[in-house]
């Protein structure tokens, strides 16, 4: 269950192209699992920005009832995130967390590959620790456009058995995309489950390669969200249910993590004509 808290910014540190924020507040770390996200009000009291911004939870630590800590990794993209990364230590932020459905963890100790694009690596160390605690082998591939857009590589390298980096510009690691190096890695690592977080085109490629190589994939999608709590229906994408029916489901409450083979990647941004409730003729 999500709570809405006034959190205090304990630390705001630049890391490469990102900012690592540490927030302290009451109760918002309780029940957090890797893959959950937080939604933060931006712009202060008198702002034209009416919507919250969503961020994967990097780490969450429950201490006392009053003193839990949530960490985020923020890329200063537009006005909302620019405002956020400019907040001074001590600033009070309005945070709703934890939100969404986290990564599903395997019951058995299997080989897991964690694939991240850009700030998509934010939840990966946390996820890796949980998997390792369950006896899983953890391997990782981190990709980004350039070196400064990689996050948490040192920590993750430590946790992973095999660890690879790709960059679009070749500034570090293999020049190319994560999906380019996935097949080899998955064969070597005998990967059973792939966990992925990053931009939509990357997730689509990851889901495809995973399926080709017979692995299950868990992808954390990133759709525009107005509410983040399930009341507005903006954040939908076509996902195939257990019954084989495609529905436009809310990524904020039914996701952001979906099985990669269930997301109709090619149809994201459309309503497939076979989707539940799709316009029959003439449209809505």
């Amino acid at each position: 269950m999500a709570v809405q808290v006034k959190a205090t910014l304990l630390s705001n540190r630049r890391v490469g192209s990102y900012h690592h924020l540490v927030l302290s507040g009451a109760g918002f770390a309780s029940g957090v699992r890797p893959g959950h996200f937080a939604a933060i009000a931006v712009g202060g009291d008198n702002t034209p920005m009416v919507l919250r911004r969503a961020f994967s939870i990097h780490r969450a630590t429950e201490m006392t009832a009053k003193g839990s800590v949530v960490e985020l990794v923020v890329s200063a993209h537009g006005p909302g995130t620019q405002w956020l990364v400019a907040q001074p230590v001590g600033a009070i932020l309005d945070v709703v967390a934890p939100l969404g459905r986290p990564f599903a963890l395997p019951r058995d100790p299997v080989n897991c590959l964690l694939v991240a694009g850009g700030y998509g690596s934010a939840p990966m160390a946390y996820l890796a620790e949980e998997l390792i605690a369950r006896g899983c082998q953890v391997d990782m591939i981190f990709g980004a456009s350039t070196e400064s857009k990689l996050f948490d590589t040192l920590e993750c390298k430590r946790l992973a058995r095999y660890f690879e980096i790709t960059t679009d510009d070749g500034s570090i690691g293999t020049k190319g995309r994560v999906s380019d190096v996935m097949p080899e890695m998955m064969k070597r690592a005998e990967t059973a489950v792939v966990y992925a977080c990053g931009p939509m085109p990357m997730l689509q490629a990851v889901a495809k390669v995973s399926a080709q190589l017979g692995a299950i994939s868990q992808t954390a999608v990133e759709e525009s969200m107005a509410c983040g709590i399930g009341v507005c229906m903006t954040c939908v994408l076509p996902v195939i249910g257990d019954d084989g029916v495609t529905r436009m489901v809310r990524s904020c409450v039914d996701g952001p993590v979906f099985r990669g083979d269930r997301v109709r990647w090619d149809a994201v941004g459309t309503v497939p004509s076979d989707a539940y409730g799709a316009p029959q003729s003439g449209g809505h």
Binding site: Q4, A226, C232, V236
Partner: protein, 310 residues
């Protein structure tokens, strides 16, 4: 001195003047995490249609200066699932429930109304004849007095006369007073003012419409002056017609502005996205604003902007 916060919309008694706006609170369940939904005036549920409906393609929203556009397109599970799941939950929870209904034609409105009219959870029906997120502007029934009246009359015939029927109007018309008169004459017990304003933004990268549905509905504080004007116009023209006011309410003072302009109660929409506790917070803030000004009740403040001297 405590302020009496009860109010009414026609013969619908409300414990408080602050409700949720249709489409911004689903059926209340998610908000119940953040505050006790039985403590506010009521939940106006997302407009429900006869059949399940997938809505429009994504992206479905764009933030705009002091507002947002949405092009949800009335996605929903269809009225049967709504009754079985959402209404059942609302009833068990004991929330004051107003069901918003929509349809592709007059008959569909009637059929949806018929499915919900006997449910004991339902305290009123809001008839959404003003959703801009439809493929054809002809489907915005609230754009013409005749089509608005047709739909309202059909719903009115379908539900018992004790069940309040509120028509939700669009500001995208030349003469909103004429539409309000038409729906009153067709049997509406009040009006909801306003639905979103038709708008569009382009994506700065592609220079094409940003929303999957191209156009969308503008909501939030940006449109508040338009909404206040509509409420004031209708209250001036129809001194006793119940009004549920909405459009950009973010604080208790904003809510008071609507009430002073003539709203009997208000709905909170977009503000919920920025603050999921908004309906409860605004209820408290409104009480303070009323108290500060020496009002003993919401009713006393209702329409005060029209009185010549205070």
């Amino acid at each position: 001195m405590t302020v009496s916060m009860s109010t009414s919309l026609g013969n619908l008694q409300l414990r408080g003047p602050v409700l949720t706006a249709s489409g911004c609170a689903a059926a209340g369940k998610e908000l119940d995490q953040f505050f006790d939904i039985t403590e506010i005036g009521g939940i106006v549920t997302k407009s429900i249609m006869l059949e399940p409906r997938s809505g429009r393609p994504t992206p479905r929203m764009a933030e705009t200066p002091s507002g947002m556009l949405n092009s949800i397109g009335l996605q929903g599970p269809g009225v049967d699932s709504f009754v079985a799941n959402d209404l059942a939950w609302l009833e068990q929870r004991g929330a004051t429930t107003i069901v918003s209904i929509a349809g592709n034609n007059t008959e569909e409105f009637s059929r949806v109304a018929a499915r919900v009219r006997d449910h004991s959870a339902v305290k009123g029906i809001e008839v959404n004849i003003s959703c801009p997120n439809v493929s054809n502007r002809g489907l915005v029934f609230a754009c013409q007095p005749e089509s608005a009246a047709d739909v309202v009359a059909a719903v009115r015939r379908t539900v018992p006369s004790s069940m309040p029927v509120i028509a939700k109007l669009s500001p995208d018309v030349t003469d909103i007073v004429a539409i309000a008169h038409a729906v009153r004459d067709a049997g509406a017990d009040g009006v909801s003012l306003i639905n979103t304003v038709l708008g569009m933004v382009l994506d700065p990268q592609t220079l094409r419409p940003k929303l999957g549905g191209k156009t969308g509905g503008l909501s939030g504080p940006a449109i508040r002056p338009i909404a206040i004007r509509c409420v004031y116009q209708i209250r001036a023209a129809m001194p006793d017609f119940p009004i549920l006011g909405m459009g950009g309410i973010r604080s208790g003072l904003d809510a008071l502005e609507f009430i002073a302009a003539g709203a009997n109660a208000v709905s909170i929409g977009t503000a919920i996205f920025g603050d999921p506790s908004a309906p409860m917070r605004i209820t408290r803030e409104l009480e303070e604003e009323l108290q500060k000004r020496g009002f003993s009740s919401v009713k006393e403040a209702c329409g005060i902007a029209h009185r010549v001297e205070r």
